[in-house]
């Protein structure tokens, strides 16, 4: 994607930015392999958060005193950073939310309730996180629209040959897909789905919560209509995310939350809505967190998204090679070149909870569960999987410790 060669990512140097990675438990550092759930936070982001609260904090867009101006400048500066990060045409199209989940709910409610009805089709995929599945299932039911799911094949790839038969069932109005699967790491063909959605006259909603930390994002290249991200999955604080939407769509939508700041004028008889993006930002926002979100964008952009993508790719390829050495292991999902830094697996006859517990004693933190993707678990024929996920601070030694821990778990339950 990038024309200039990026310097290779130096994970050892990066690790020094993360306090937890220096902590020892029983004399050993913990191998934190659950970054897909949420990443650790670098000092640079925490310093920005603290500095903002200490020296720039007031409510935004209200006071005329200097501190309030400074707070507003910080908050709006973060919006510009997020805009550049997703390559959106305008900051008017960047709405701060609580999370990617809230961003998707905003679209489902504010666009879906007004535009869906009987005979319409809402299409999601089997790889969706519940956050991009349940809101659509719910809004479809509320509006009488039909809910459809694109299934996956055995390798965790979407079965796109089903698109034609879905299109024959009705008017496809919404297609919702995650760019990167949080369970399997699959990088989904969003450009292809977007083109198909637009042929049908549908909008394309992209959940990029898992993609944003991993690869360069460009909403104009993707061609989608909405895209949601979450700060906490990309070295930023929890409690803040962003939704990008096409201005013409956002303009035509009714508000999602109502209250202060999202209005133009309020009278007893009637209220009119404010301009974009404020129409969708009712109430006091997570101001300092949004500012720190901007710092997180700076942090990972300075490392370079191309370099991060390559680093994760190398780690996941190494992990899949090493995991395959473990007897009785099942690894789910596509080959390394088709996935982000996530690998889901199961050990024969050992439940993921037991695996995670034994690994925890070995100072290896992974996730065992359904990863908020129960339809996918059903397809895989399992109740849960073990999931190891990597980020900028992850190193091959942690993969080795994971594999050693798995050998121990296997032995114990043999």
């Amino acid at each position: 994607m990038a024309v200039t060669a990026q310097p290779k990512l130096d994970s050892q140097r990066i690790r020094a930015d993360f306090a937890y990675l220096e902590e020892l438990r029983g004399g050993k550092p913990v191998a934190f392999l659950d970054s897909a759930a949420s990443t650790q936070k670098p000092r640079q982001v925490l310093d920005a958060l603290r500095g903002f609260y200490e020296h720039s904090y007031a409510n935004v867009h209200r006071g005329v005193y200097q501190l309030a101006e400074r707070a507003t400048a910080g908050y709006e500066g973060a919006r510009e950073k997020v805009r550049a990060f997703v390559n959106a045409p305008s900051t008017r199209e960047i709405v701060f939310t609580r999370s990617a989940t809230e961003g998707i709910n905003l679209v489902a409610y504010a666009w879906g309730l007004a535009n869906l009805g009987p005979g319409d089709l809402v299409v999601v995929t089997e790889l969706e996180h519940h956050s991009n599945f349940v809101p659509w299932q719910y809004i479809a039911r509320r509006t009488g629209a039909t809910f459809r799911m694109i299934q996956t094949d055995g390798a965790g790839e979407l079965q796109l040959d089903a698109l034609d038969s879905i299109a024959r069932e009705g008017n496809v109005k919404v297609v919702a897909n995650n760019l990167v699967s949080n369970s399997l790491g699959t990088v989904n063909p969003v450009e292809h789905l977007t083109a198909w959605a637009h042929e049908q006259g549908a909008i394309m909603v992209v959940d990029a919560a898992q993609a944003a930390p991993h690869m360069p994002l460009d909403v104009q290249a993707l061609g989608c209509d909405f895209l949601a991200i979450s700060a906490h999955k990309m070295c930023g604080p929890s409690g803040v995310g962003a939704l990008w939407g096409r201005a013409e769509l956002l303009d035509a939508m009714e508000p999602f939350n109502l209250g202060g700041h999202m209005i133009r004028s309020v009278r007893y008889e009637d209220t009119t809505w404010g301009q974009l993006p404020y129409k969708f930002e009712a109430g006091t926002q997570p101001i300092a967190e949004a500012f720190a979100f901007g710092a997180a964008v700076d942090y990972i952009s300075a490392i370079g998204l191309d370099a991060i993508e390559q680093h994760e790719h190398e780690l996941v390829a190494y992990a899949m090679e090493r995991l395959a050495e473990v007897e009785g292991i099942s690894i789910y999902g596509p080959p390394p070149d088709r996935r982000a830094g996530i690998v889901s697996f199961n050990l024969e006859n050992v439940h993921p909870h037991d695996v995670s517990q034994v690994l925890d004693w070995e100072n290896v933190a992974i996730r065992g569960g359904h990863h908020c993707t129960q339809p996918l678990m059903k397809r895989l024929g399992v109740a849960a999987t073990c999931r190891a996920s990597f980020y900028v601070y992850s190193i091959p030694d942690e993969v080795d410790r994971l594999v050693a821990g798995l050998q121990k778990a296997k032995q114990a339950f043999a």
Partner: protein
Amino acid sequence: MGEFDQLYREVILDHYKNPRGHGAIPDADAHAEGQNPLCGDEVSIYVSFGDDGDTIDDVKFEGRGCAISQAATSMLMEIVKGRSATEIAALPKEELLDEIGIPLTPVRLKCAILGLGVLKVALHRAKGTPLPEEWSTLADELEFLGND
């Protein structure tokens, strides 16, 4: 004792690997199944009563899940067989936890008492035995599925 031995003591591993009362009872007098949505543990319990309609003559379970959930349900089968439905409906969870005999974090506690909750729901549905609030709350949390 290491951490592993504390949580997965030999008797638990033994019950996990060789579950007692494993299987289904066709035409059972009472049946319920439940799952822990958090981790996907699943347990299905079948009960048949004796001629007095109260004694638990036979009890079996099927399920899949972590070692703690499956071993605890296996232990439960041994605890309840031959006792009365009325008595088991009132069985405090401590009796099962004593048998398990290991310290459990709140997350793992739910795994450990899943089987007992399912059994209490099965008895409640079949016999109308009381289901104290503690268990009906659990039933809400754990999602107990249909009767048959």
